[in-house]
Amino acid sequence: MSKYLQFDDIVFKDRRLLLAALADVGYAQVEEGQALPLYGYHGDRRPETAELVVRRRHVGSLSNDIGFTRSPEGYVPILSEYDQHTLRGGRFLTTLRTAYSERVVEEVKRRLHGTTQRQVEGSLIKIRMRF
């Protein structure tokens, strides 16, 4: 049994962009509701609840549900210790955060009616937006 960890220092402020970012990293099916229960890979119900849940059947046979609980600052991920170390080679949250950041840039571009140029410089993604 793997325990759940809540990552308070990682917050996704906008629900719509979070859902889009989850779809970008391969998790398009997300359950939405109030205090949804989370289940472990044995089907055991955990005490933690969340407002957005990716069910384990969409994650992997040995995985647990992935949750996002709503806080005043935004949506905070709740991830099992097992999944934290195994999903995407232990980089699930980083990958999701990167996808979310790209979605933020798209949304700022839309709101400011801008045009963008994207390029990779070394290990960094640089996006220049004119508006």
Partner: protein
């Protein structure tokens, strides 16, 4: 030309943005758009451009003679 340079570090997922060509507090209004989506920034500093006052052309209308 007004420009924002976004930098995303895929090793952390952290986004930084640099606003150029926007003078004065209007720059803060643009930063607020991003803060609405990202939350309050961990670091926030103003470049010298911020302290430039926007140039406002005075408009003087001639008085109409009765």
């Amino acid at each position: 030309m007004r420009e924002i340079e976004f930098t995303i570090d895929p090793s952390t997922g952290v986004l930084t943005m640099h606003i150029r060509g926007v003078r004065g507090p209007a720059c803060g209004d643009i930063a607020k758009v991003a803060a609405d989506l990202l939350g309050e920034p961990e670091h926030d500093w103003n470049t010298p451009e911020y302290f430039l006052r926007p140039h406002v052309q005075p408009r003087v209308q001639p008085r109409r003679e009765r």
